[in-house]
């Protein structure tokens, strides 16, 4: 079947560049974090001085998940830039991105509570939620809705192409 090229490629190209820069920045930030611990900004990110290793591990897993999500998004945008917006490849890629981003954000949101649970100092469990993290988690979860919309668009596109 013949299919027309779509016009959004230049915009997608720009977004893809931003995602690439974000991914590289994330890796650079975490490398800086582990290689140069005395930095005060880094100490805040490391869950405080003498940080809990469980929290640090959770934050690292969260960062790796976010990097994997960005990598997945970059692939999806690459497929979009090459041509057709409504393909199964883009749908599965977007679902993977939504899952990775949501999972990572969930870990990041849960990390302070995990720190409280695994703390060596005996005290009650504190559930700590930062509004911005929760908001980011909701945004990540909404990507599932976007992926479902793209899946529906793929179905409609396929139906439309089978009408002559």
């Amino acid at each position: 079947m013949e299919r027309a090229q779509w016009s959004g490629a230049p915009t997608v190209r720009r977004v893809r560049r931003v995602v690439q820069v974000l991914g590289i920045s994330l890796v650079a930030l975490y490398l800086a974090m582990w290689l140069r611990p005395p930095n005060p900004v880094v100490e805040v990110l490391r869950a405080g001085p003498g940080g809990n290793p469980w929290v640090e591990a959770a934050m690292l897993i969260g960062a790796m998940g976010l990097f994997a999500a960005l990598l997945q998004l970059e692939r999806v945008l690459g497929a979009l830039e090459r041509g057709f917006p409504f393909t199964r490849e883009i749908v599965t890629g977007f679902y993977r991105f939504a899952a990775l981003a949501s999972g990572s954000m969930f870990i990041v949101v849960a990390a302070p509570t995990l720190g409280s649970l695994t703390s060596l100092v005996p005290h009650g469990v504190a559930i700590t939620l930062r509004m911005i993290d929760v908001l980011l988690l909701v945004i990540c979860l909404s990507f599932f809705a976007v992926a479902a919309l793209i899946a529906e668009a793929v179905r409609i596109d396929r139906d439309n192409r089978s009408i002559v």
């Binding site: 079947m1 013949e2 139906d159 089978s162 009408i163 002559v164």
Partner: protein, 71 residues
Amino acid sequence: MPIVVRLDVMLARRKVRSRELAAYVGITEANLSLLKSGHVKGIRFATLAAICKHLDCQPGDLLEFVDTDEV
């Protein structure tokens, strides 16, 4: 599919080639071939009208309902 496309019969009766009809209607030969073999989910009224005009026939000459439950 209970709707059977009889386009190949009309093409043979009118002695019109698929390529010529495809060019007149403005669809690809591949799509016309899919239409002839019934491997499409639908046909636009514009396409149907163009085919009818070129072959000088009615939509009923091109499409036939076959009740598969009775077979």
